[in-house]
Symmetry: C2
Subunit: 546 residues, 2 copies
């Protein structure tokens, strides 16, 4: 028996496009002699479809796609994820299901039991959990077929669920397991996912075929990394990260563990780099855009954003705009020009002083006698935002946001100014990680100018301003932020780690009182275990630590 895993880049709601990809994969699998092909969770409609699932018309289109896919199930069995209707009135209206298609018909349907509803996941919003478990028989083999989270409840100290689907299914003595997933990237997930698959294989003593999505849907990046693991826990094969692929396996070879692949994952920085490039490419591609515009300040954030965007879209599709003011240092323009030359991108220089003067004049009657303060600083940032959006609107380019996670956390940025942009590229990287990734990109030759990497960070909105005037050293700031945001530690616990009490309280207060700014910023490409955006939902008028 030959089994194909199809690791594809689906597009939410693009039923025609998704079906075309799947039919093409079925044809290739048949040509390769496969008896069974496995597609991922909710392959018909893409993942996560979010509230589109509440539209009957959307479910009808998913059903239609399944039926059209079934037409191709001739001489091959197809497994694919799609929503199904709950036939009983009680409970949610849908299941998150795995279809088995054979002989041009629906041969079996299995529903997901463990519905993730934390961080970026909202599956209880839409789906009823399965409470009954039954394996499927395909071509004489008994298969434990599960959907994504179903295999994640194994041996955790504090499990989220009160049931474990595989504990039921294993009683039917399946020959092997198939899990169809939509498991999004974070820099820990390649290792965690392998660990989960291995825990299942070790616990149940049968091999597993695991197939994931590959591709980005706005903030969520699916990294692929589908795999086949033998009953003895050795990794038989792993599909590439961040790329579509179709591979065919001889079941006997998997059963006899006749092959072994290295477990090792790429480095954290390589993973993040490739994830962000895919995230950028799919955001543009799936929205039907080709071109980006980026404000280049000469600083590290915009430089890194530009370098990633050039890799994703090509240098011919990236415009850099330099907008120096009277507070810009000489090196700002020089460094940004150097970057543009290194990247081979077109750049323009639009000095903002005359525009700033016009705002000052316009506001002079109202602001008379009041000192220069944050209002004037922000006007400069907002002039830049308005100029950049002018390019965006005039030339059909998407403005990319260049904020990093540290400044988004403490609100060190101007809403409608430097916080503008359709997509936040590095908003899930702390400033220290921004430097780390920039150095990784420079590992072979200088792409990001050395001076950009070594000079002191500055917003340059008033004379001789430095980030260090308002913020602690980034190594300390980022360590505190990580404990609070990723680890959800209390102020007391963070202080106990050795950080200065007043600083900790000030930083956490800044995080909590700046929720209103993050609420209005672009979706953030997610690479960590806790990114700002859909996976972190905080009150704005809250009064905790604020």
């Amino acid at each position: 028996m030959k089994i194909a895993l199809a690791q594809l880049n689906y597009h939410i709601g693009n039923f025609e496009g998704n079906l075309r990809k799947m039919l093409d994969a079925v044809a290739r699998a048949k040509a390769g002699g496969a008896d069974l092909i496995c597609f991922a969770e909710l392959a018909t409609c893409g993942y996560p479809p979010r509230d589109f699932l509440e539209f009957e018309d959307f479910i009808r289109l998913a059903d239609e796609t399944v039926h059209r896919l079934a037409e191709a199930a001739e001489g091959i069995v197809i497994i694919a994820g799609s929503p199904t209707k709950n036939p009983v009135p009680e409970g949610k209206d849908l299941y998150n299901s795995a279809y088995v298609l054979a002989d041009k018909k629906i041969a079996a349907i299995r529903h997901k039991a463990l519905l993730p509803n934390y961080d970026v996941f909202d599956e209880y919003r839409y789906f009823e959990p399965a409470t009954e478990f039954e394996s499927v028989e395909i071509l004489g083999k008994r298969i434990a077929l599960t959907v994504c989270e179903d295999i994640w409840n194994i041996g955790n100290e504090n499990p989220l669920y009160t049931t474990c689907p595989m504990d039921h299914l294993i009683q039917e003595q399946p020959d092997f397991m198939i899990n169809i997933s939509a498991s999004p990237f974070n820099y820990n997930n390649p290792v965690s996912r392998t660990h989960v698959v291995r825990s299942n294989v070790n616990r149940y003593g049968v091999p597993m075929f695991y197939v994931n999505h590959c591709g980005a849907q706005t903030e969520l990046i699916f990294d692929g990394g589908s795999m086949v693991m033998c009953a003895n826990g050795q990794l038989f094969d792993r599909l590439p990260y961040f790329e579509e692929d179709l591979r065919i396996y001889e079941l006997d070879e998997v059963m006899t563990a006749s092959r072994q692949t290295d477990d090792a994952s790429p480095s954290k920085m390589e993973l993040i780099h490739d994830a962000l490039v895919l995230g950028l490419r799919d955001y543009f591609g799936k929205l039907g855009f080709r071109k980006a515009v980026i404000g280049l300040s000469g600083g590290i954030d915009s430089a890194l954003t530009a370098a990633l965007t050039v890799t994703a879209l090509g240098s011919e599709n990236v415009r850099g705009v330099l907008m120096p003011s009277q507070f810009s240092s000489d090196h700002s323009v020089a460094d940004a020009v150097q970057l543009s030359e290194n990247l081979g991108i077109h750049h323009e220089i639009v000095p903002i002083a005359p525009v700033y003067d016009s705002f000052e004049t316009a506001l002079a009657p109202a602001f008379e006698g009041l000192p220069f303060n944050i209002a004037e600083e922000n006007i400069q940032a907002r002039i830049r935002g308005t100029l950049l959006m002018g390019f965006s609107n005039k030339f059909g380019e998407i403005l990319l946001n260049t904020s990093n996670k540290s400044e988004m956390a403490v609100g060190y940025g101007t809403l409608y100014g430097d916080m503008c942009g359709g997509l936040s590229v590095i908003g899930d990287l702390y400033k220290t990680e921004v430097y780390e990734l920039a150095r990784w990109i420079n590992r072979e030759r200088e792409i990001i100018p050395e001076n950009t990497l070594t000079k002191a960070p500055s917003a340059e909105l008033r004379p001789d301003q430095k980030d260090a005037d308002s913020l602690p050293d980034y190594a300390i700031l980022d360590a505190i932020l990580f404990q609070y945001i990723e680890n959800r530690k209390s102020p007391g616990a963070i202080i106990q780690m050795g950080f200065e009490e007043n600083l900790v309280r000030r930083v956490l207060r800044l995080v909590n009182t700046n929720e209103f700014k993050r609420y209005q910023t672009a979706p953030v490409l997610r690479v960590s275990t806790k990114a700002f955006g859909m996976g972190r939902r905080m009150p704005i008028v809250g009064k905790y630590l604020s």
Copy 2:
């Protein structure tokens, strides 16, 4: 036995403030001879605490608050909602619970079983549902004590849940029911809520004491309307809408249905008006702000927003800014000045032409030879946004967003321009409802100038521009939007209602392709059953109807 209902305005995470309010209510209830006092769901920490619930430190503070509240449970029994820890490792870590406090101790705890996880609700994200049901005995009475959603699964054709807590509890023959709620406002909810309470009373044949929150938490407005309903279905009493209150009832009088209150709710427009005023007042009050700034265009949206804000904050706390351009008609300034005079607010006039010219000059080299288009239109809107944020930053005023639901739906607005603002006041009102509410406000005297109500709507970003050039008549547009957004109808079903096919397809495409704009706008005060924001979660890169 005397029972007090305390309908209070809690503040998320403000444990000290919430406790102070509750202790004050306990003292007043004792003074009034009450034997039992009921506070609402999650009263200790406020509702919805969202991801603060994932912080152990936050739960510790809630526990501490319960224990401090218990100290006051002497000569009176206290019922109050708070999160509790799930003692077993399996399942979510928390329950959403009702505490019974007596003799300075925790006498009983009951957990919520039906966890809403739709629209604005995310309770499965945090809580494990109760699966066991037991009434509580208080001062010799047997009471079926439930939390909010627990009583909503009654007789629905397509119920969301597979269980019904009261069906279990009624078997213990309770004397009456108590439900502690956090039921947010929408203009249908006062009627729905009364219907739900009555359905329970009719079905189980015992009276119900129902206590709700009153107060706004960013977008969610809790309207109060707590009530006591007799076993025969007559409304014994209802607490006011949109106001805190404490009332004490003699149980015998409720049991004998010795009193009846009129069921009638205020009109839709009165409810919406009072909800928005409370939403505004609490947004400012809970964030510690007093003053607002609003851009006044002479149009209906900014006029309505200003009128509501003056009612909420007082005319001395509202600044109107008029920012005419070369495309502004004469009446724009005149109407806005008239509005400011009617409202008694301070206004400034800041013409934008010189600033616009400076942008044109700055961009001339890059835009050379290209015609005036959406880029230049948006620059005007963004100049206004930048000026308004200048006032906001200089004077510590919150900029209020004036977008309506129709334009937010179809993307007829400029991101970082007129879509700026910390809070969207009328973003859940379709344009036709904006007119209706404005007329309601003008019912006794002209507050919003008549000319603002009667002239054709226009963005005035190019010569002689009218909304009607780009959009269908608002009566038609709003009807289509309502069917798609509130009712989630398919294009086919909407066309079948008699709307023109091309128009329907164009409108739905506009809604779906403008998700990126709504993602970056202010939280919207929610008054309908489906508001933009936390209750409507759509993909940005989706390809459905787009």
